[in-house]
């Protein structure tokens, strides 16, 4: 062997469909945790904009431009998605590679919010949780990051090791909602 073959988090698990719903794995992308040091949020935002063209988002929001996005990811934490971090960021924040830490899936289909309503204790109604909005909340028993990516589309991430449970739980919910017709 001359090369270590990479596997995705949901290798062999996806995609699945039930009724109008499709669950598929998000394409592999660099994921970087950015945790600004004391009082460095603005500087980090400026550095991000200069290097990647996106600013730091507010709480429960994401910013994106040209395939690069930044998700609010919790208290004092952001997730840079889609580009390796520019070296300038480390001056203002702890920069930690998390590209392999998360299983990321995409749930699509009319009524997808009803599928997530089986698992997430948060209000996902379209009026209050719009495209680009993001939040941290437990999906079933798993700490998750959920982002609305479209009218009927969500991007969901949980710890990589829990990929099988994530797929199982979402599939069960999809089937339950689909069976009601």
């Amino acid at each position: 062997m001359t090369e270590l073959l990479a596997k995705t988090a949901c290798d062999g698990l996806l995609s699945v469909t039930a009724g109008p719903f499709t669950l598929s794995e998000e394409p592999v992308a660099p994921l970087t945790s950015l945790m600004p040091y004391k009082g460095r949020d603005k500087a980090l935002s400026a550095a991000l904009e200069a290097a990647h063209g996106v600013k730091l988002p507010g709480v429960n929001r994401s910013t994106s431009k040209a395939g690069i996005s930044v998700l609010w990811f919790g208290r004092g934490q952001f997730l840079l998605v889609g580009a390796g971090p520019d070296g300038s960021l480390a001056e203002h924040a702890a920069v930690v590679d998390q590209s392999d830490a998360w299983a990321r899936v995409r749930l699509e289909g009319a009524g997808a919010d009803q599928v997530l309503a089986r698992l997430l204790p948060v209000d996902l109604r379209a009026a209050s949780f719009k495209r680009g909005h993001t939040l941290r909340s437990p999906l079933g028993h798993m700490m998750a990051s959920v982002t609305r990516t479209g009218v009927n589309a969500f991007s969901i991430a949980v710890f990589r090791s829990m990929a099988a449970t994530l797929v199982h739980d979402l599939k069960t919910a999809m089937e339950g909602v689909a069976a009601r017709g």
Binding site: A93, D97, A101, A117, R118, G140, L166, H168
Partner: protein
């Protein structure tokens, strides 16, 4: 008896079903109860204690008598209310709590012995002889008690849980609920309208009142059409709101497919509805009147009789009589006459009741007895002229109405007594944000319900910040509610209050005589209100009887209170998803698949699955594999996935100061590129966790935790930082999942790595406890020279995507060197041989001092837990402290969980000297080994103690040895 041209069942859709094996037919739109009544079935169940024959009492979820079992096998469903169950083709119902049959029930003998079975009789007997309680009395009582039976088989249906959010939750779809929902919906609020029934409309479906000049149910249908067309409205039928909880959270049970045999949809869904405001429009429940033998099949609430006639087109009898203490009973007589049913008489306990054309109204009279054991045949009427018998096969009784206020009591609020309705009504504010309207607020006329519903919508809209929309109040009856209290009819014999639990007026009176005068005492002593209806049919009357017998007014005697759930909810619904694997997430390492391919049995460890051992050809048990794997690590090289250990990336100018504060030992002095073992205490001074911590850069550390405590440690670090030391400029995040990490352990580990890594290791750069970046086949990796086996060992970490490939590569290379994978069993033996502790030893009750690491608590600095660890009781040498044990007597076995004693002492608590935490057979040393906690242990090395395990009957003489049994100098891992 089915009535022509009445009701809302679909006469073009006949449905066949069976009850106790007998075939019957009904129509779509029937409940099992309405269909049974239509087929003339009156005896449907037996009571709990006296096994009295019982019929249908009500037309709703409060039914105490008509409980049946549906289905069979794993789908057997006991205690289903026939009054709520929708009929479907092929439905098969069985009666309950009878033997050998519903008709001939042996335990009906209990009824004859009733004088001896009064309230609380069992507290006074069955005491002698003592041993008979468990052997004779209790089994007999248990067999006689209970209602339906569980199948005993694993649940085979699917259930789900879901969350919903809204501005306004409206509970109940009668006139009040419909107006409230419409008012709020038109103004643009997000509305959920929840209705227990399978059809919306509430009481309007059961009455003949007109609303806005048309039949009430048609008015409701029109309004429902409008609601159904609105995006901001969710109509939920078959959904009972079961509980009111804090901050506007409501529990609700949706019976999704109980009416659809073999549906693919879940059977039930348990909802958690979060509502900014709620309107309770749950209506009211009619109360029975207590009189002698008022539990005969055929005696029903008047509103139920009316509902069966109007909604289902069924008359429960051929000659119906009515007994009432209020005007409402007249409606039943009126509607029955209109439907062509013979009304034998209307008995009004009041002298001033109205007249009703075509009906023989007997005023100032009472029903004082009923005859017809398995079905009503006659009643006895008492008037000022004396008693007379009346032939009747159905008695519709009305003792007045109780507002369905149950939800309002769920947060400890107490309702208030209202003389005008002779009932309890909610008080505003019992549930923050919830307003009760209509009948459940004690306002019984249709007009009042419509008005209060509309007004409550306005109030809610104002609170929510919406501008109310136009809403016209429809015209409807606004009759006053006139009632004169009548709780129980005087006379001999037993008059039932709580039908299912067989609690009679006599029982309540006897309880009072025995000084169970508090309403709570009375309920607990008589079991009144403890049946499946939770007192919905009996609480107020029982309270009234208690008030009467104790000479107090009703409000002074007590109040009614109710706890969740409003109706019983299946465990499967509220615990949906947990059956099988769902209790917690499963966590899989990247090497899982490869380990399974090698036949490794997996065991769960802190949600992770880890290989127990890797069986080789010819091995017939785990011990052979384990011994081989241990030998392999000691002699060549072994590979073990250690990714499950928690890994926390810690960075910032104050990272080192932070670690100095959370660890007992010092990390600010650690050099970059080096790793140090650290010990963490809880603030109470006991050990929380241990692990290594690597300094990757001047301000960059990587902390390792045990697998089990990873979450707890993360939470602790956040606590220490945010709550105790927020001034520190440090940030951290878990990187457990980012890295797949493998131990490469054994004398040949270096050889393996030199061949595998892109650049061979330069020895002097990689002393024991060194760490740093390396590359593996072009992949950036991290290498740590740490050891949990006592051998020269490394841990190699790569991004998780490469974990599977690297594990396979490592196994191939180890195999070529005579090594291979090792599992948890071998890992455990390796660490016991070395005296390394795990959570078997740091089990939350041990200190650093106990585990021999007292010196790791730095004297030069403060740290979490330091002060409390210095308490007298925690530094007493006579504490149980860590030692090794080696069997030296005839019995060569040691076992975890055994206790330690002096050799000549009796093995009793007073002599207890300690206990064994971890044991193994050491293939390296050729005997069994144990880690144990022994009083003053470290001072007793070389002495002998007795190990006793009572439960597995093992006693062994042991020598106390140093916990590090193998290579105590540590040369093997350092060199």
């Amino acid at each position: 008896m089915r009535l022509a041209n009445r009701g809302m069942v679909d006469r073009n859709a006949p449905v066949t079903f069976t009850f106790d094996g007998v075939g019957h037919s009904g129509f779509e739109g029937d409940t099992l109860a309405s269909a049974l009544l239509a087929n003339g079935v009156r005896l449907v169940g037996r009571s709990f204690k006296y096994h009295r024959p019982r019929g249908i009492l009500t037309a709703g979820s409060e039914e105490p008598n008509a409980l049946v079992t549906l289905g069979s096998g794993a789908r057997q469903d006991p205690n289903v209310r026939a009054t709520q169950q929708e009929l479907y083709e092929g439905l098969a119902a069985q009666s309950q709590n009878r033997w050998p049959s519903l008709d001939w029930d042996l335990l009906a003998l209990n009824d004859l012995a009733a004088p001896f079975f009064g309230a609380g009789f069992y507290y006074k007997t069955f005491m002698w002889p003592k041993a008979f309680w468990e052997k004779l009395y209790e089994p007999a009582i248990r067999r006689a008690a209970g209602l339906g039976a569980l199948s005993g088989l694993n649940n085979a249906d699917t259930y789900e849980r879901a969350f919903a959010f809204c501005d306004l939750l409206v509970i109940g779809s009668g006139p009040a609920g419909l107006m409230a929902a419409l008012g709020a919906a038109r103004a643009g609020a997000d509305v959920i309208l929840a209705e227990e029934d399978f059809r919306m409309g509430g009481r309007l479906l059961a009455e003949t009142h007109e609303v806005d000049g048309k039949p009430g149910h048609l008015w409701a249908a029109g309004l429902l059409d409008e609601l159904a067309s609105m995006d901001n409205v969710r109509l939920m039928t078959r959904t009972t709101v079961t509980g009111a909880y804090d901050q506007g959270t409501y529990g609700a049970l949706e019976r999704v497919s109980h009416h659809v045999p073999r549906s693919r949809a879940p059977l039930e869904c348990f909802w958690r509805i979060v509502a900014k405001r709620a309107i309770l429009a749950a209506g009211a429940l009619e109360r029975p009147v207590a009189f002698r033998n008022n539990d005969r099949p055929g005696i029903m609430t008047a509103s139920a009789v009316r509902a069966y006639a109007n909604r289902w087109g069924v008359s429960p009898g051929k000659a119906v009589s009515v007994f009432t203490n209020n005007d409402d009973g007249y409606r039943t007589a009126r509607d029955l006459v209109a439907a062509g049913v013979h009304v034998a008489a209307l008995i009004d306990s009041r002298h001033d009741g109205p007249d009703l054309p075509g009906v023989h109204v007997i005023k100032g009279a009472q029903v004082c007895d009923a005859a017809g054991r398995k079905g009503l045949e006659s009643i006895t009427i008492r008037t000022h002229r004396g008693e007379e018998k009346l032939l009747t096969d159905c008695l519709a009784m009305s003792g007045g109405w109780n507002p369905t206020l149950h939800l309002t009591c769920h947060m400890n609020g107490r309702p208030a007594w209202r003389e005008d309705i002779q009932g309890f009504a909610p008080v505003p504010g019992m549930i923050p944000g919830l307003q009760a309207v209509g009948a459940c607020n004690g306002s019984f006329s249709t007009a009042a319900c419509l008005r209060e519903g509309a007004e409550a919508a306005e109030d809610a809209l104002e609170a929510l910040g919406f501008k109310p929309a136009a809403l016209e109040l429809p015209q409807a009856e606004d009759d006053p509610f006139r009632i004169a209290p009548l709780w129980s009819v005087e006379g001999k014999g037993r008059a039932w209050l709580d039908f299912q639990n067989d609690v009679t007026v006599k029982d309540v009176k006897q309880a009072a005589v025995e000084n169970f005068r508090s309403v709570e005492h009375m309920k607990r002593y008589t079991t009144q209100g403890m049946a499946t209806d939770q007192g919905k049919n009996s609480n107020v009357a029982a309270l009234a009887v208690l008030a009467d017998v104790t000479g107090r007014a009703i409000p002074e005697t007590g109040t009614t209170t109710f706890r969740p759930p409003f109706v019983p909810v299946s465990i499967a619904a509220m615990g949906a998803g947990a059956q099988g694997k769902g209790f917690a997430p499963q966590r899989f390492t990247t090497s899982h698949k490869a380990s399974i391919e090698r036949g490794a049995p997996m065991i769960e460890a802190g949600l992770w699955y880890r290989p127990s051992y890797f069986p080789a050809p010819g091995e017939s048990n785990w011990r052979q594999a384990c011994d081989r794997e241990v030998k392999m690590v000691r002699e060549t090289v072994g590979i073990c996935d250690v990714s499950t250990l928690g890994k926390i990336d810690i960075q910032g100018p104050d990272a080192a100061a932070f670690l100095d504060f959370v660890y007992t030992n010092t990390f600010s002095t650690l050099k970059v590129g080096r790793t140090r073992y650290g010990l963490m205490l809880r603030e109470d001074g006991f050990v929380m966790d241990d692990g290594t911590c690597a300094r990757l850069g001047e301000t960059h550390f990587l902390m390792t935790t045990t697998t089990a405590a990873a979450g707890e440690v993360m939470r602790h670090l956040e606590f220490v930082h945010q709550c105790l030391r927020p001034e520190l400029d440090v940030v951290f995040t878990s990187v457990t999942e980012q890295w797949a990490q493998f131990a490469v352990a054994g004398p040949k580990s270096r050889d393996l790595l030199d061949a595998l890594l892109d650049k061979p290791l330069n020895g002097p750069d990689w002393p024991f406890m060194a760490c740093g970046p390396v590359t593996v086949m072009g992949v950036k990796a991290r290498l740590f020279r740490i050891s949990f086996s006592g051998e020269h060992a490394y841990e190699l970490a790569v991004p998780a995507r490469y974990g599977d490939a690297l594990f396979r590569e490592l196994l191939a290379r180890a195999g070529a060197l005579g090594g291979g994978p090792y599992g948890m069993e071998a890992l455990n033996v390796l660490r016991i041989e070395k005296g390394f502790i795990t959570h078997s030893e740091i089990h939350g009750r041990t200190t650093a001092y106990d585990v021999g690491l007292g010196k790791m608590v730095s004297e030069k600095k403060d740290c979490i837990g330091k002060t409390m660890s210095e308490r007298d009781g925690l530094i007493d040498p006579m504490r149980e402290r860590l030692v090794g044990l080696k069997p030296v007597g005839a019995v060569k076995q040691v076992i975890a969980g055994a206790h330690l004693f002096e050799v000549d002492d009796a093995p009793v608590r007073e002599n207890d000297k300690g206990y064994v935490t971890s044991v193994c057979y050491s293939p390296t040393l050729g005997h069994m080994l144990a880690l144990a906690f022994l009083k003053n242990g470290p001072e007793r090395i070389g002495e002998r103690v007795k190990m006793v395990d009572h439960v597995r009957k093992i006693e062994a003489l042991c020598e106390v040895v140093h916990p590090i049994a193998f290579d105590p100098e540590g040369g093997r891992m350092r060199d």
